[in-house]
Point group: none
Chain length 251, copies 2
């Protein structure tokens, strides 16, 4: 597990929320969970069930008597708050904080984020221990994250700030998914346009060039694979052939 | 409430998760909640308690019989998936999708995000209805978001992405180039598939569902305009009709 910020829950009330916090953390590659004076036993069955497979984070959690001890080894600490504390302190969004954490860690330092009790949030004395306040920008008319959701958003920003662009631009089918050489596409266009000429769809000479361009653009935008071009050849061929046969049979 | 994407829960299993989804949405200023075939009553006491004050979103939720009806009025749809579906479809991170949604909405369009049932995720047929797949980049060794957490992360990115991207996603043709409502695309699919059934292209029952998905994905990727859909109706109709006439004439 790569080094990331410690997640520090100050006086959490419900063990279930400690479990869901562990789950949120591990989703984003974090594993350093610290608890200050938890009210309930955090290895309860409910906490382990709530961790949903992330119990290795729960098992490794460390417990401290007070906030100062919990942050003693850290170089830089953020305090999450949802409301103004009337203190003169810098404020970061989670995205700004994530970038700053990356810098601290890249320079060999350590950092952590403080979260207060579910009902009341951090006390001012805990906020004072932090370098910086962190507030999640949310709907000012309804701002009600639970503890694990707040941990998730902040952990998520940390992970995104690190994650190289891991997603490919497109999901792949099972086979034959490389970008196709244009030659195959042009062969399909020729087939389609031959059939459209024959059936009379392109019969108005003035409009023919524009219509062909429009149809070609539709299929260009789809970034077709070789297999898909084969499918489209089949569609055009069968629509035509069957009609011909049917016509003959009727005639 | 400003216009934002619709959040569409497909066959959600637990009413409590519908409540926590409403809460996650309202935190990020979203209010258009749509349910496709929910297993439980979504105005249950448990759902309302889980919504934690966001019950106005829950009360205004609309219920649909199938996914196609739920997206019929939308111009652009994302399908959330955690695993590869072996379809050829573009993939966005939530951040990329948020920027694209802002552009769609700034141009007067509407959009939505599909979420599958808790246990199984979206079925392939539901993914096929979407333009684009959305996957949250997370720890590859432990990736276990619950439904409301996935909704939260995606809604959060939408909220953070305050400004629309300045460049439109695509150069425009002369007329009727807004993104088209899904209903028109689904009507075209029905027309095309009816003709393909009749001509025998889809005669192998085992292969039919996969072939239909592949063909739908081709046209989803093209982001068709209303005019282009009309053109494609014409292509399919004339390929079919003329053959019939020609056959008759020959016969």
């Amino acid at each position: 597990m790569s080094a990331g910020p410690a997640i520090i829950l100050v006086r959490p009330q419900l063990s279930e929320n400690i479990g869901t916090t562990a789950r949120a953390m591990l989703n984003c590659g974090l594993s350093d969970l610290r608890l200050v004076g938890p009210r309930e036993e955090w290895l309860s069955d409910r906490a382990i069930a709530a961790a949903s497979g992330a119990d290795r984070v729960l098992m490794a959690a460390r417990c401290f008597d007070d906030t100062a001890s919990a942050v003693a080894d850290l170089n830089r600490v953020w305090a999450t708050t949802g409301r103004d504390r009337y203190m003169v302190k810098p404020v970061d969004t989670p995205r700004e904080a994530a970038a700053a954490m990356r810098t601290v860690i890249a320079e060999g330092g350590t950092c952590g984020v403080l979260f207060g009790p579910e009902r009341t949030g951090l006390e001012n004395d805990d906020v004072t221990i932090a370098d910086t306040v962190m507030t999640v920008p949310l709907n000012p008319d309804y701002c009600s994250l639970n503890l694990a959701q707040a941990v998730l958003l902040i952990s998520y920003e940390w992970y995104q700030c690190a994650a190289p662009a891991t997603l490919p631009a497109m999901t792949k089918g099972a086979d034959d998914c490389g970008p196709v050489a244009k030659e195959k596409l042009l062969t399909f266009f020729a087939h389609l346009e031959r059939e459209l000429d024959e059936c009379g769809f392109l019969r108005v000479a003035d409009k023919r060039p524009g219509m062909i361009r429009n149809i070609r653009n539709i299929f260009q935008r789809a970034h077709l694979t070789g297999q898909e071009i084969q499918t489209l050849h089949g569609v055009v061929h069968e629509l035509a052939t069957y009609r011909r046969k049917k016509g003959e049979a009727q005639g």
